[in-house]
């Protein structure tokens, strides 16, 4: 069963179109929603939470249509962290806990206090005096303290120092040890997604370029470096996209189309995504 399903979801704004997006996040998995700034990641998250109305398509979250009246109860099972949308700045962590206790039926004070301690968040300091890292950590502590089944995190790791990012990614990994728990994590920092995600959905200029298991993606594609004439001799449909350098051409290729024995470079998810984006631009 899927935690999130999107079928043909479309949203049009002036100068932007989220175009016919379909993907699914299986339960127990972490799906990374990757894309450049303005690709449509935050719009997709808002649509999933029914914070904005879709123009077309269907969205189901934890088995429920997100525009049905029953979705309000489903929100009890969803922890949300948004980029640059926070608690009012005059509140402190203790007050945030008291407000959330009245918001979520399954709010657990002990779990919240434990997360605050673990993440080293001061109890009485006003939110406006928090660093961005502390703000995110508090938001994550809140998201984890009402026994959620699904976490939806929009750019939760951007702008954080590597230590804090690592700390937070460990928390996400711990969360998905329960096979009923799932995470949708949007980011433009592909290296973070590579560390924790099982699936990658790549949005580019409002279109879904791919949604694939991360490991399969790395199995499917490879980077090669060779002279242009050698690249031209590769079988048709092998090269997905390429970049010319002074001495050689770097190209993203389909591994299964490569002739046996062709030397490939060390391939990361980030390079695959970058080349796919470039290929998409040319298309």
């Amino acid at each position: 069963m899927n935690a999130i399903e999107l079928h043909g979801v479309t949203k049009r704004y002036d100068g932007f179109l989220l175009d016919n997006v379909s993907f699914a996040l299986p339960r127990g998995a972490i799906l990374g929603l990757v894309g450049e700034n303005g690709a449509g990641k935050s719009t997709t998250i808002k649509l999933i939470m029914d914070a904005i109305r879709r123009d077309a398509g269907e969205i189901r979250v934890l088995g429920e249509d997100n525009q049905s009246p029953a979705f309000r109860a489903v929100k009890e099972d969803i922890g949300v962290v948004l980029d640059e949308a926070y608690f009012p700045e005059v509140l402190n962590a203790t007050q945030v806990g008291a407000v959330m206790k009245q918001t979520y039926q399954r709010w657990n004070d002990a779990v919240y206090m434990n997360h605050l301690k673990l993440l080293d968040i001061p109890l009485k300091k006003a939110f406006r005096d928090f660093s961005r890292g502390m703000k995110m950590k508090l938001a994550i502590a809140v998201a984890l303290s009402h026994d959620p089944k699904l976490l939806i995190l929009d750019e939760a790791t951007s702008g954080l120092d590597p230590m804090v990012r690592d700390e937070i990614l460990t928390l996400f990994n711990d969360f998905t040890r329960d096979e009923e728990h799932s995470i949708l994590l949007s980011s433009h920092i592909v290296s973070d997604l590579e560390k924790v995600c099982d699936y990658i959905a790549f949005l580019h200029k409002g279109k879904l370029v791919l949604c694939e298991e991360k490991d399969r993606l790395l199995e499917q594609y490879a980077i090669v470096k060779m002279p242009q004439y050698a690249l031209d001799q590769l079988p048709a449909d092998t090269v997905v996209s390429s970049k010319s350098g002074p001495y050689a051409v770097e190209a993203l290729v389909k591994r299964d189309r490569l002739p046996h024995g062709t030397q490939t470079e060390f391939t990361t998810l980030e390079t695959v995504i970058l080349f796919l984006a470039r290929g998409g631009d040319r298309a």
Partner: protein, 203 residues
């Protein structure tokens, strides 16, 4: 809803201390117009709360929590209702104490002025708050100030309530019932408009 009200209470906590001092000062000044100013201040509190919400983009987060958009709107009206009611009680309480010290009982005119001022402020709330939801705090505040200037002239005339009552056939009961009806109708309409405006914000 309790969570939203608690959040608003915490947001106003620092201001509330200042606000309580202001109400007490205004209430001990022997002029009903000054008490009226305290009630007007109470009706303004949603602007302060919405300003804090806007600054932190709280609404974007709140619509993803188990709250309906209607609850997010209604909570702002409720905070004003509670503040106006508390201010009226404090004002009347202080005047009872002052009256007791001076050996005078609270007059019908004093009570009527407080209640009618509260009604006027709640009607003012019903007019300006949909504008705040529609235009945002900055421009909504300008609408409020224009309304305030108009209302202030009206409030000044409340001083002559006793004179008006002496010469008019309108009884206090009629004034209270008419005022209450106006408050209910205007606020029901205002909440409905605010809901509609708020829904459109998240299209």
């Amino acid at each position: 809803m309790k969570g939203l009200l608690l959040k608003d209470f915490y947001t106003l906590l620092k201001q509330l201390k200042f606000y309580l001092i202001i109400i007490v000062i205004l209430s001990v000044i022997p002029s009903m117009n000054m008490t009226s100013m305290g009630i007007v201040y109470a009706a303004m509190l949603p602007i302060a709360v919405i300003a804090f919400d806007e600054r932190s983009k709280w609404d974007h987060l709140a619509v993803m929590m188990p709250y309906t958009r209607n609850e997010l709107v209604l909570s702002k009206y409720l905070i004003a209702y509670i503040a106006v009611a508390v201010t009226c009680l404090i004002s009347l309480g202080i005047q009872v104490i002052i009256g007791a010290v001076n050996g005078q009982a609270l007059t019908m005119e004093q009570m009527l002025t407080v209640v009618l001022t509260a009604f006027a402020c709640l009607i003012l709330l019903a007019i300006y708050l949909p504008f705040v939801f529609w235009l945002g705090v900055e421009r909504g505040r300008i609408v409020f100030l224009v309304l305030m200037a108009t209302a202030f002239i009206g409030l000044m005339s409340l001083e002559s309530i006793k004179a008006m009552m002496d010469y008019s056939t309108i009884t206090p009961a009629t004034l209270l019932l008419g005022g209450a009806a106006a408050v209910i109708v205007s606020n029901v309409v205002a909440v409905a408009i605010s809901n509609r405006v708020y829904q459109r914000k998240f299209l």
